[in-house]
Symmetry: C2
Subunit: 145 residues, 2 copies
């Protein structure tokens, strides 16, 4: 039988540090923009790191569930991930070039809690995404016409 004593119910889940995990973490660190799983796969491949696509999906999902990554569904169905601190913030995304700016919104936080409370909701989370055209892209478009 097993030599492992199972009366240890509080034991840590044995997280292992592997080459693949480090590669993925490094790829995420190398840029603070949102990247898709496929992006990271391509990048690692190009860098010579041999990591399976499945592994990347698994890892990204795990990290996202652990709260270490921000998740954002694009309009094309792709899921984008991004390293995320513990602090809460929102994003201002340029729909032309994809540039992302982090913004904070105390008013929004207050508004969300107030509205939720008014309707009896508890344990509230919220998502705010502001999409627009950034200054340089707007200039570019204006110059075009």
């Amino acid at each position: 039988m097993t030599a492992v004593s199972d009366d240890l119910e509080g034991r840590a889940p044995q997280e292992r540090s592997t080459r693949q995990k480090r590669a993925i973490a490094a790829a995420l660190d190398s840029s603070d923009a949102f990247r898709s799983a496929q992006d990271i796969y391509t990048e690692l491949r190009a860098r010579g790191e041999n990591v399976g696509l499945t592994t990347i999906y698994n890892q990204l999902r795990a990290l996202a569930e652990a709260g270490e990554l921000d998740v954002l569904r694009g309009d094309d169905g792709e899921t984008h991930y991004r390293r995320c601190g513990t602090e809460h913030h929102h994003h201002l995304v340029c729909s032309e070039c994809g540039r992302t700016v982090e913004v904070e919104g105390p008013e929004v936080e207050r508004w969300a809690s107030r509205v939720a409370a008014e309707h009896g909701f508890v344990e509230v989370a919220h998502t705010v995404e502001v999409l627009g055209t950034c200054a340089s892209c707007a200039r570019k478009k204006a110059a075009h016409s």
Copy 2:
């Protein structure tokens, strides 16, 4: 050959009113919640209306592009559509039972425009979703433990 004179370049795009279009419009009107294409397909089927799934996708996409529908990508990859008045508002969704409450947030609107302007963004749109547990579900959960 054709009796149609093609020197009429400004003619209307000949939109036809079909049974299927009316059925889809009716289905959308029957509820003000977000529905997926598949939902509508199932509903129409159950109602005896025979409408192809492809038609529903086409129609929904067309309506969305015409600005008559709100589009929202769910976390599971499904696209949800909803009849959209001209007025702008947001949603408070119960993560347990799915109940949806429409809310307004003038502060949020102001905040979004301000933040966007601060970073030089123009043509801004924004999405706000507040997710929580509604009063009755919270009670249910509390009674359980």
